[in-house]
């Protein structure tokens, strides 16, 4: 496979993630931290994030099942943690959904919470898939691909 082509592919994948608003500055920061001492830093962080967050997702799902009454405080706390974790990898859209969810929590809107969480999960899964594909390709290409998106 043409290395340059692969590199370009990786770069454009990444660019599209930013263009679609799925990732933000934080991802760039993480990439900035990647170096020879930490060649797979970003991937490690993302992996760690998905491990933690899947736990949170199931906790939230569990909590959402309790309808009468719905424990908004607990949901808010869980979502706060989830949001923190998502923002640490730069998951922009997911973070926005988190905020929406928390609004519903504060308003005590159970239906809104459920709906928003469904949406959030969709975004979460979509980003995860894309990132996995991205990292797979990036690994093939080699560690020197940390082209920063020019602003």
């Amino acid at each position: 496979m043409d290395k340059n082509q692969s590199r370009r592919q990786v770069a454009s994948m990444k660019q599209s993630l930013f263009d679609q608003g799925l990732l933000d500055e934080q991802f760039i920061q993480l990439e900035g931290l990647q170096d020879d001492a930490n060649p797979n830093f970003v991937e490690e962080i993302v992996t760690l994030h998905y491990r933690d967050s899947s736990r949170l997702i199931s906790s939230i799902e569990q909590a959402l099942k309790e309808r009468n009454p719905m424990d908004f405080n607990k949901l808010d706390t869980l979502m706060h943690q989830f949001k923190g974790s998502s923002s640490s990898i730069g998951a922009k859209k997911v973070k926005a959904e988190c905020n929406l969810f928390r609004e519903y929590c504060r308003a005590g809107n159970a239906e809104g919470c459920v709906r928003s969480f469904q949406q959030l999960k969709k975004e979460y899964v979509a980003l995860r898939k894309k990132l996995e594909a991205y990292f797979q390709l990036a690994r093939q290409v080699g560690p020197q691909e940390t082209a920063c998106r020019s602003k």
Partner: protein, 637 residues
Amino acid sequence: MTVVKDQRMDDLRDQFPVGMRVLAVDDDATYLMVLETLLRRCQYHVTGTKNAITALKLLRENKNKFDLVISDVHMPDMDGFKLLELVGLEMDLPVIMLSANDDPKMVMKGITHGACDYLLKPVRIEELQNIWQHVVRRKYDLKERNKTSSQDKPNGDCCNGRGSSATGNSDQNGKHSRKRKDQEEDDDEEHENDLDNEDQSTQKKPRVVWSVDLHRKFVSAVNQLGIDKAVPKKILDLMNDEKLTRENVASHLQKYRLYLKRISRVANQQANMVAALGTADSSYLRMGSLSGVGHMPTLTGPQQFHNNAFRSFVPGGMIGRLNTNVGLNMHGLSSETLQLGHAPNLNNSMNDPIKFQSAIACGNQNGILAMPLSIGFDQLQHNKGVGFSPIQDMSSLTEAKQTFAMSNNGLLLKPDRENRQESGVYNNLTSVASQHSQFSLPLLDHGRCSDIWSTPVHSSGTNSYPPSEALPGANLSGASSITSLSNQSHDSLTDIHPQGLTFTNNSGLSHFPFQGWEDHNHDRSYHSNVIGNSVDSLIDPEGHTSMKSTFNRNLDFNFCDPLKHDGIVGLSEENSLKQQQGYIMNQHKSQSSHTVNNLGSLEEFVSSVMQQQQLDKVKLLDGTYLCDNNYPAGTSM
């Protein structure tokens, strides 16, 4: 976590800020890793931990191991703010808070708890590149403090916001007399300090651990001397601890005063909030100007009384949260309030407030009163001058205390906002307190807190509180109980701050004088150490029920006498008024110190406010208590 290679570390430290030793605390593993990497990128030496308890352990085992702490706010095992305070208190290290939550209230909370900075997650590397300034600043401030500590000037200035500048001055004057001799010593010591500081900014002198006992001694010494007159040399002499140097005491005193000030500020904020409740804010404001009686103004707000059955009077000003029995009785108060309203003297004389209180107290007899007191108190609070500057008006407070002592019986005014709700409960408390004729001045605030903490005064079941001591102490106990009670409002007493009365009655309550170190949201934490009794009902305003943590806090928190949790714990657990009352009663009984009672009353008061419905029960109880108090109802008025 990371192996410290001493040699290399020393080298690194020489190149400060390179090699600055940071302890990072965050329960989110992902973010912790990001943070550690970011910090290493800034060339700091990083140790990370997910667990706040572990972090504390690391910090304690070697005081000189770290230069800076960065901690997340939301952690499961211990609240970030608590950790913040503990670190600030025990180790005097700069702490930076981190959170994904950019709510200004949280930021404010961080600042009031003593954070050097508050960063939002995710943090950019640029923000971290400058955090070393906090380390330098702290060392510099310490140096400055030590230099002037002999004159207690900075303390005086900052602590005595409104009013006691005079006292502060006199303090300094007093010091001047001994200045010469002390100055020499100080100069020498400072010189050494300077040398040390300059040589290696990251190197610290052997740190003194302010254990609970030590702090207790400190607070009692301060109370004995009077907060205005407490100067490091004298405190040191009183404490009679050979391991302490005057500088240690000086810096600790500084912190203590800042803490008290902070509490009062918080209380003021709450007062402001309470003001929203309406009544006579202006009257409070007027009151505010009272010297010393700072809180008294609130008392004089007759309007207030009318409106809120009973605004918390602040006898002697400082006592922001007097749990006057009067207050408790809404009904009683209204009539009383009229009386009170006419007590202009309250405003300006210590005695007045006291009388007022007594009057109010008498009023209580009618029943439990809603916390108008607290409301009023809040008002007071929000007048800086008015209220809680415990420090300022220590002297006045003392007077007030004395007066109260006479009349009080638990005049615990609680400026809680929740007055209304809690009044019921509160009444009980106050009645309890009053019985002991201890004048537990509302835990007033911060300034008082110190007094309270140390005060053995409580134990004096007599009304005569050692002026600065008695009141605070009393209040504390009362407060603590109240806080415990008040917790209910929040989360049921689970939030107990071991440290003292933390009245975490919902936000309204915050009037407990000791918002102290634990300026939780509710700012209701009172450090009820005061009484040294079991009024350890530390109610964690933040609603964290981790008693454990609060207790730890208590221990760590030197300012508050470690409350014996036994009493408080029980209290805190029970939200129900009844229990509280029982608690208070128990407290009362168990502790000779009246303060306990007082505290109980405070707490009860708080809780009573919270639980209006339970007031009935309380009322009965209160009524009983109130009757016991022999307040010269008409005294002040």
